[in-house]
């Protein structure tokens, strides 16, 4: 059991590290695009050139950045949270508690995955039984298939919305890894995989995570 769990965690860790490796340049690129767009907006305004696309691009870049960062931030524990209760618990109880917390987050992410897939026009039939087991029935929501385009850019909103299910799916991957780590902690608290994924502040020690 422990060996199987360790294998799964190691595999998920490798996948999540690859995801982080791939997302990092995209995040930097997104910020660069934001800077270029704002500067271009000012330059266009001062020189009297019409650049209506800049506003639309900004409206896409902002949520894009948030959803690109979300999987990394979740896995690295960078989201704001209160740790007082967990810090006051004995180590074993804290691990069990955090396991419960991440299971709850997993449920939120499952619902979010279902909703975001419907938002891009996909009916996630395979999620229905899973959510039904949790007492949640979202089957009455019709997938959004209207071909509404963004003015000026000509891109369909559905294409922009794709970032949402992609991001939630990646968060779910991280969620499963974290659940695995805390689960392993219940059996073998001294296993190296049990310690939490290091934060950005400890980035110098991130090798091997």
């Amino acid at each position: 059991m422990v060996r199987l769990l360790t294998g799964v965690i190691v595999a998920l860790r490798a996948v999540n590290r690859a995801v982080e490796w791939a997302l990092k340049p995209l995040v930097a690129l997104c910020v660069t695009a934001m800077l270029a767009t704002v500067v271009w907006t000012v330059a266009a305004r001062l020189s009297g050139i019409s650049a209506p696309w800049t506003e639309k691009v900004m409206l896409i870049l902002l949520p894009a950045l948030a959803f690109l960062v979300a999987p990394i931030a979740y896995r690295r524990g960078a989201n704001v949270s209160l740790d007082m209760l967990v810090n006051a618990m004995p180590a074993r109880l804290a691990r069990a508690h955090l396991l419960g917390v991440h299971v709850l987050i997993g449920v939120i992410l499952l619902v979010a995955l279902d909703l975001t897939l419907r938002k891009v026009g996909v009916a996630p039939l395979y999620l229905d039984p899973l959510l039904a087991a949790l007492g949640i029935d979202l089957t009455s929501i019709r997938p959004f298939r209207a071909p509404i385009k963004i003015p000026v850019l000509g891109i369909e909103w559905r294409t922009v919305y794709l970032i949402m299910p992609a991001s939630v799916a990646l968060m779910l991957l991280a969620n499963v890894e974290l659940i695995g780590r805390y689960l392993l902690g219940l059996f073998d608290p001294h296993d190296q995989l049990v310690r939490p994924v290091r934060s950005f502040d400890q980035a110098h020690a991130n090798v091997g995570e």
Binding site: K24, P25, V27, A28, C30, V31, T32, M34, L35, T37, V38, V39, T41, V42, R45, E55, M58, L59, I60, L61, L62, P63, L65, A66, F67, L68, V69, A70, I72, A73, Y74, A78, N79, V80, S81, L82, D83, M84, L85, V86, H97, L98, V101, L104, I105, I108, V111, A112, L115, T116, R118, K119, D137, L138, T139, S140, I141, Y161, M164, F200
Partner: protein
């Protein structure tokens, strides 16, 4: 049942669920719960739409740009120049390095609107220097932590951009409104440092600098210090929108750091942009989730009910302001400034601005200053932890040494609360507010 959303959220917060997930879960559950038979699953879809549209707004673009400008300035080696300049200005006063620390924070706040960045950048340089000069580590760390809260109060300020966006207040008026309270805190902290320096016989850092020395040190900081001039000048004169000003400030900071003072290398840029992206992305997601949360609170009538409850306590606005100051200060002890504003802003603004007729800019500044000062208070003050990490001193020891400074900050909070002119004088003089 209308307040169930708040209890659910607070419970999720208490058990350690990240704020962003707590906001989303509480919104979904309460919608399901409170709408009862009239609930339809597609209402959950509305939450999703609120999250997306909540972060998809042009004025919000100012936030990542401000963060980027601050990151560039932090990385660009400007801290050392600021400290040197501050030393020529106030280093000759008794307790000189404590004054240098506070003065550097005031100057630094014009470049970076983050208290944490201020503590980390100035603390790593000034705490060891103060120790060498005979100050205790706890005192050095306490001065650094106490003065770093000036960062988000003097513009540019990330939390003011968030407040302006959420509550529809003019960011330019907020920026102008933050200047006097920020300077008051700086002056108050310097006065307290002077008193403590005399009582504890702290040393003078350096001899009085000549005007030539001051000018030479000032020249070193000239290019970077033009960033807040461009930023604030652009916004306050109406030449730039806050979004444009933030972008231009970031671009300017980049050019200065790369080509003028040459303290930044091209190969450092991807890492720097990534760091700014992560900080921005986390806040943007939080803004989206809090928009959904506010929408749900509005749908189930909870916001109106909470307003009624607060007003039922007393209708005396001064007494309510007194209580709200205490509440915000306590909230600031536990929550970071951004989330505190996102969660409480819409509810409290309903009561104080809409129902009691308080000036929106005045209330915004009261709220921003309160939650910012809370960053430097135990048990969860982020700035306190950073100061502890930089100095190697225990959090409890720093917190104790901070008490005199905290007393000054609390006194100033009450002063700006009950004398609104301290906040409103500049926005009115600049024609940004009636």
């Amino acid at each position: 049942m209308q307040t169930a959303f708040l209890w659910l959220f607070l419970t999720s917060l208490f058990i350690g669920i990240p704020v962003v997930f707590g906001l989303l879960a509480a919104s979904g559950v309460v919608l399901f719960w409170d709408l009862g038979d009239s609930f339809e699953p597609r209402d959950l879809n509305s939450i999703l739409s609120q999250v997306f549209s909540g972060m998809s707004s042009v004025p919000l673009m100012a936030l990542p740009m401000f963060i980027l400008a601050g990151e560039i300035m932090n990385r660009g080696g400007i801290t050392q120049r600021l400290v040197h300049f501050s030393q020529t200005l106030v280093g000759h006063v008794r307790g000189g390095l404590a004054h240098v620390n506070i003065m550097s924070s005031i100057l630094f706040s014009g470049l970076s609107g983050s208290a944490v960045a201020d503590t980390s950048a100035l603390g790593s340089m000034l705490i060891p220097a103060m120790e060498k000069n005979g100050y205790t580590t706890r005192f050095a760390a306490a001065v650094t932590a106490a003065s770093s809260v000036i960062g988000p109060i003097i513009p540019p300020s990330g939390i003011m951009i968030i407040y302006a966006f959420i509550m529809g207040v003019s960011p330019a008026a907020l920026f102008a409104g933050g200047i006097v309270p920020g300077l008051m805190i700086g002056a108050g902290l310097m006065a307290m440092s002077y008193y403590l320096a005399i009582r504890n016989d702290f040393p003078i850092a350096s001899e009085r600098a000549t005007w030539c020395d001051v000018a030479a040190a000032g020249r070193q900081t000239l290019w970077p210090m033009l960033t807040p001039v461009i930023l604030l000048g652009g916004i306050l004169t109406g030449f730039f929108t806050p979004t444009e000003a933030a972008g231009i400030a970031a671009a300017y900071a980049l050019i200065v750091a790369l080509f003028v003072i040459r303290t930044l290398r091209f190969d450092e840029l991807p890492r720097l942009f990534f760091k700014a992206g992560v900080a921005s992305g986390i806040i943007l997601f939080l803004i989206g989730a809090s928009k959904a949360f506010s929408w749900v609170a509005d749908q189930v009538g909870a916001a109106a009910m909470l307003s009624e409850f607060v007003l039922s306590l007393t209708e005396n606005p001064y007494l309510l302001l007194f209580f709200v100051n205490i509440m915000l200060f306590v909230v600031g002890m536990f929550l970071d400034a951004g989330p505190a504003i996102l969660i409480l802003g819409p509810i409290l603004s309903d009561v104080f601005v809409d129902d009691l007729g308080l000036d929106p800019v005045h209330f915004a500044i009261i709220m921003c200053v309160n939650v910012t000062v809370g960053l430097a208070t135990p048990p969860m003050g982020l700035v306190l932890f950073v100061a502890a990490s930089v100095s190697g001193e225990r959090v409890e020891a720093i917190a104790k040494a901070m008490l005199p400074f905290l007393a000054v900050e609390i006194a100033i909070i009450f002063l700006i609360t009950f004398v609104p002119d301290f906040v409103l004088v500049l926005p009115r003089l600049m024609g940004l507010h009636n």
